[in-house]
Symmetry: C2
Subunit: 397 residues, 2 copies
């Protein structure tokens, strides 16, 4: 029953230090982070309320000297509890905390500012950056908020910092790699448990439940449990149904969870009974494509070159044309992070980057198959974050 204690506190400090180190060389004086992942990276604060409602309304203003959060009053007390200083939170909106003591800042924050734009502007001023060049996470900034910020901070020069923030986060710290490995292993443990439960008559939804339970038991929050069978295995991302497994079916998993903020995204394919020659041949081709990526990936190799290699090797394995839009993606506090392994993505791999590589193949009317694995780029290659073998599993029919 005891969970492994979270390594987050040390990690939060390490991430903030890395962000500040990058900021010293940035083409702006300070940065306004808005996405859930960027705010977490910069401050360690994750809004439970934001996660429930699916919106990110907490922002972090980071200068070389100070980090100030702006967010709803409801986030103030949880943020202080997470280690944010009471002078480092600017609130907006209405929510009531009472107080048994005298020091509870959160009780006086009600209606401090009417909305997010006013609170962010005040946070920028508090951080001393109201006439600075500010990087802003444009990709996570709704248009009305962006316009309101421009109006509220007329002396600021704005620079889009979304790609810059993605670049800061791309090379992972050791504590991040450890969490990504634990998250990936929960996903693969879910697949292993579901494969043990798989049999003719068992449904997709039942197997998805086994995957989710395994993730939860290890401390993860299930985020997607794509379990598709038979012809449905060709549907790529689809909700599991009550379709029962039958002999001869393909069984395709694409599953992931969140562990302390870090994602997993792992794929495997099985067949119920013995694989047909066509199933085996197609699987071998996509596995060859994946293996070629894994063998070639190392610092300095452009992401696009890995894509070309995966497509080429898969096609030489007999699956031609092999048409894909990408064969992998970075993973971390977001499930898809830069770099993406796709045409035109010329950014070279660097040590410490973490990826999921995959070569899925979907044939409507026949079925779909994939192997997807997580890895970290090492000094001279890659180190897998998973332990499961990559072959086509045959489930006893």
């Amino acid at each position: 029953m005891t969970l492994t204690p979270s390594p987050r506190p040390a990690l939060v400090a390490d991430r903030a230090a890395r962000l500040l180190a990058h900021l010293a060389d940035a083409p702006f004086d300070a940065v306004v982070a808005l996405s859930t992942a960027n705010v977490d990276y910069a401050t360690g604060y994750r809004s439970m309320s934001g996660a429930v409602h699916g919106t990110s309304s907490v922002a972090a203003v980071v200068t070389g000297d100070r980090t100030v959060l702006a967010g709803p009053v409801a986030d103030s007390a949880p943020a202080f509890d997470a280690g944010i200083g009471e002078d480092d939170f600017v609130a907006f909106g209405r929510f009531y905390f009472e107080s048994a003591g005298s020091a509870a800042t959160a009780t006086r924050l009600v209606d401090e500012h009417p909305g997010a734009a006013e609170a962010i502007a005040a946070a920028v001023a508090r951080a001393g950056a109201a006439s600075a060049i500010l990087g802003i996470d444009e990709a996570a900034c709704p248009a009305p908020l962006r316009a309101a910020l421009a109006a509220a901070l007329p002396d600021v020069t704005w620079v889009d910092a979304s790609a810059w923030l993605a670049g800061v986060r791309a090379r992972k710290l050791p504590g991040e790699v450890a969490l990504l490995a634990r998250s990936a292993r929960l996903a693969e443990a879910g697949i292993v448990a579901a494969l043990a439960a798989a049999a003719p008559g068992v449904t997709e939804a039942e197997l998805a439940r086994v995957v989710a339970r395994t993730m939860v038991d290890g401390g993860g929050l299930p985020k997607f449990t794509v379990v598709t069978t038979g012809p449905r295995s060709a549907l790529a991302d689809a909700v599991a149904t009550d379709r029962p497994l039958a002999a001869g079916d393909l069984l395709r998993f694409d599953v992931g969870c969140l562990l302390d903020g870090y994602w997993s995204d792992i794929g495997r394919t099985a067949v119920i009974g013995a694989a047909t020659a066509l199933q085996a041949q197609r699987y071998d081709a996509i596995l060859d494509g994946l293996d070629a990526q894994l063998a070639a990936a190392r610092p300095g190799v452009p992401a696009a070159a890995l894509f070309d290699l995966a497509v080429d090797v898969t096609e030489r394995g007999g699956l031609a044309p092999y048409r894909r839009q990408h064969c992998g993606h970075g993973i971390g506090l977001d499930v898809y992070e830069a770099p993406i392994v796709r045409p035109g993505e010329d950014v070279p791999l660097e040590e410490g980057m973490t990826f999921c590589f995959a070569t899925p193949y979907y044939v409507l009317g026949w079925g779909g198959m994939m192997v997807e694995d997580a890895l970290v780029v090492s000094a001279d290659g890659v180190r897998p974050l998973t332990m499961l073998a990559r072959g086509l599993t045959e489930v006893p029919a």
Copy 2:
């Protein structure tokens, strides 16, 4: 191991029929639905890919005669599998499905349109509404998409339909109430299981895991598992930590899951050992406030009147001033739906509306407590969707 089969297929048809019935009286000819909940309501299609990435990029164009979806190519095959006609999906972007047969529309949809705006405009044209008065789900429409739609459909007259769509969804169909009840009961089953596991030394994170596992075992997807203890119980929505329970602690649950698209949001409070006089007195006051709402709620009563009543009764119970921004909210395909039980919300309750009522109380430095329950408005009152008693539970220390 067998899950109860989903009642979704019949429900999907019933919801679409209700939407069409309302559309006949709407101040527009057709409606463009954009939020995940509105698209699900109108069509029964839920994008797994959209759920993973946290963005809704599928839109539904609904006229009196026809419903056409616009979405990424990757959603096309799953949508057809979910019952959407092949002529009723307009695609954008690049994703590759191959095909073993001849009829697979999805294989020819690659790059049909470059982006969402072009696809939605084409869907509007296909539905014959390119020169109509169109309602649009403005609240779920990013500003760049909104501008692009205006440019792409110059002959359309646009009307904000967000509140109208919320109104259509407010009174639930019997199948919706059944799913909301199952979702609520999974949440309360999670609380019951966690209370059984609670004891001095057990941590918040361990109890959150028990809640999540119980939801998963019943077929739900855990969405929030707020388990806060001792002084942390005052933090409202906060992430569970490794803090161990101690004798005298308050233990506050605020938990919810998704079941077939329908949310739950249930709250309970316990104390480790015997409640102190202050704990018991404050709890009695907030429970009185909740009970007063439950007793007074019936068709015709304005939501704001319930708010006033809850605050008044809680204060007369000795908790004055009792400051709150709301004392409840509608629940359905979204966790917060109209009407909200708050000042100024003059909309009267109607039979079939579903709510969560709550009177939380948060005192920084002391603790927090709440009871939150789900209910459906009946002809002459309310019917609870939960079974759990509402008292302050004492956990053996």
